[in-house]
Amino acid sequence: MPKKILIIDDEIHILTYLRHVFEDNGYQTATASNGEEGYEVMKREKPDLITLDLQMPKEGGTKFYQKFRKDEECKNIPIIVVTGQDSPHRSLNPGKVAAIVSKPFEPEDLIRLVQGAIGQP
């Protein structure tokens, strides 16, 4: 059973992009377009890793992260923050996330980080 990555991003093209990148490298994916939906999917799918955009309408990545940190069941899932923000450290505890990736990014770099966090699919 391949490892599953939950992608949370409000931009449909980027969601599709990340889905392609991960699936092309053998991972399974699940997607959500805001923090609230992301939390639901996370609880349902129990992914092995989450990529999180910070700036999203409705419920942003920061709020999702706060809820996630308090979730006993899921709080140890590695998170990779994928953001266009200049200083995402201000709204997160960087020690607790696996990596912060700045947009735009190289797909190979992202895959390397994912493999570093959860290994091969």
Binding site: H13, V21, D24, Q85, K103, P104
Partner: protein, 526 residues
């Protein structure tokens, strides 16, 4: 201090006594064989003091005294007289001696006379330094004209010094003004008077700002009156032409003889050019900052499309290829728009004037305002005057400027929580060649500080909800049209923005140059 002292004394015993005494005190006595040699000795040896005996046989002592005076006017002469010839002493003074001594001379009296002569010499040397003259040019203190000369020298020096300081005061490249305890302007330098007008006697808070008397009691000048400490602050003031000037002002207490602070001086440096440059730079920086997140998103989107294209080709997945192509097209279009927007804002925009129907223009502004007001539960009313006609404006610039005012009015109503009904009234009227827009609301109103700064770049009273750009741009646009914005507001009661736009803009040089390049206005083409 050791001095050369010339002894014009025929009585050898007396002369030797005097020479011995003077040498013991460390002076250099100069003795003469013949009293007539004294003038030559004066010019050659330049003694600072002469002891001249009245009892001369080979020469007339008084004549000699007169000659000494005219040869070396700055030389101190002590006249020696016999006790039975006291009137000669008085004569000596009349002829220009600085002092006289009665023989026989006791060392004590001689010492006192020398000391006084030396003091006078020292005083003259000092005076010479102060007046920039040679000590020789300063007449002896005993000269009859001494007082007058001293007075004249002092007066000249005082006049010159005063003139120099007045010149400095007027020409110094900053504004200097002095206010009294009633905050009335008592003095101002020429530069200030030229740029801001003659305001002597007026209250400082009336001149530049629409502050009230109460504000004056809390301004930096008031603080300096209170504690004597200097304050530095930046403020925006209007010059005599109504142009805004950014000035950096430093206050300083002026104390009277008793040490009381009677006046405070304000020294202001005009930093308008620096501020304008800063505004441009920071607005560019702000623009780049605000679009940076968006640009990164666009670039990632472009990457996404490229990835789909590439991987689609590799796999022979036609669906993925066309999906990728769509994304690339979409992103390229968005990037193009963003870059054009950026260029549009980063550059000083030239007006593109056209003849616009005032009522139509007003309805468009009102339509947007109404939408915002409805969402916020605020009543919105448009009042159109009669015969509004057309005006020459750049609707693409002026429309957002007025919408900004209208939306601000709605925001001010939303913020106000005590009243049940909130209302924004947008009135448009025509006064001769001016179209007048009034935006009135019964929202929270603005305090003095907000009113003072609201047109400044990045000033916002909306916390993180505002960027500080809206009113800055609105103000800039109205000014570009040759119009004006004024505001009347009171906290808790509401705000009234009053915008006047000339039917045909009185353009500034920048706008005029741009307008000349434009085609003839529609009205004239008809």
């Amino acid at each position: 201090m050791a001095d050369k002292i010339l002894l014009v004394v025929e009585d050898r015993a007396l002369r030797q006594d005097l020479a011995g005494q003077l040498a013991r005190w460390g002076h250099t006595p100069l003795e003469l064989d013949h009293p007539a040699d004294c003038l030559e000795a004066l010019t050659r040896q330049r003694p600072s003091l002469v002891l001249l005996d009245n009892a001369l046989e080979k020469a007339d002592a008084l004549e000699l005294l007169r000659a000494i005076r005219s040869t070396e006017p700055w030389c101190e002469v002590i006249y020696l007289v016999r006790p039975d010839k006291l009137e000669r002493g008085a004569q000596g003074l009349e002829f220009g001696a600085s002092d006289f001594l009665v023989k026989p001379l006791s060392p004590a009296r001689l010492g006192i006379a020398l000391k006084r002569a030396q003091e006078r010499l020292a005083l003259r040397r000092e005076l010479a330094v102060l007046s920039g003259r040679l000590p020789e040019e300063i007449p002896s203190a005993a000269d009859n004209t001494t007082a007058a000369c001293l007075g004249a020298v002092c007066a000249t020096r005082l006049y010159e010094t005063r003139q120099r300081f007045e010149q400095l005061f007027n020409e110094v490249p900053c504004y200097i003004l002095v206010v009294d305890r009633q905050f009335r302007l008592t003095t101002a330098n020429r530069r200030y008077r030229e740029d801001f007008g003659e305001h002597i006697g007026r209250h400082c808070w009336e001149i530049h700002t629409h502050h009230d008397e109460l504000y004056a009691t809390e301004c930096p000048v008031a603080h300096t009156f209170r504690d004597g400490q200097s304050r530095t602050y930046e403020e925006v003031i209007s010059d005599r032409h109504g142009e805004q000037r950014y000035v950096l002002t430093t206050t300083a207490a002026i104390r009277d003889g008793a040490g009381e602070i009677g006046q405070v001086m304000e020294m202001s440096t005009d930093i308008t050019q620096i501020r304008k440059l800063q505004d441009h730079l920071s607005s560019l920086g702000l623009l780049i900052g605000s679009i940076s997140h968006g640009v990164k998103g666009l670039l990632t989107g472009l990457d996404a499309g490229m990835y789909s294209l590439r991987s689609g080709f590799q796999r022979g997945d036609q669906e993925r290829v066309s999906q990728g192509w769509e994304v690339v097209e979409l992103m390229v279009g968005r990037i193009k728009r963003t870059i054009l927007d950026m260029l549009y804002y980063a550059k000083d925009r030239d007006l593109s004037l056209e003849a616009v129907d005032v009522a139509d223009f007003a309805r468009q502004v009102a339509f947007t305002g109404l939408g915002r007001a409805r969402k916020s539960g605020v009543l919105f009313e448009l009042r159109l005057g009669q015969d509004l006609g057309r005006f020459q404006v750049d609707p693409n610039a002026l429309n957002p400027a007025l919408i900004n005012l209208v939306e601000n009015a709605v925001d001010a109503c939303v913020e106000e929580t005590r009243r049940e009904t909130h209302r924004v009234i947008f009135t448009v009227s025509r006064e001769d060649d001016v179209v007048v827009f009034d935006v009135q609301d019964n929202g929270v109103g603005m305090d003095d500080h907000t009113q003072e700064n609201m047109f400044t770049l990045f000033f916002t009273s909306k916390g993180s909800a505002g960027t500080g750009l809206g009113l800055f741009i609105a103000h800039d646009t109205v000014q570009q049209h040759g119009g004006s914005i004024t505001v009347d507001s009171e906290p808790g009661y509401g705000t009234h923005f009053h915008v006047r736009i000339p039917v045909r803009p009185r353009l500034g040089a920048r706008a005029r140059a741009a307008a000349e390049g434009n085609q003839a206005p529609a009205e004239e083409r008809d």
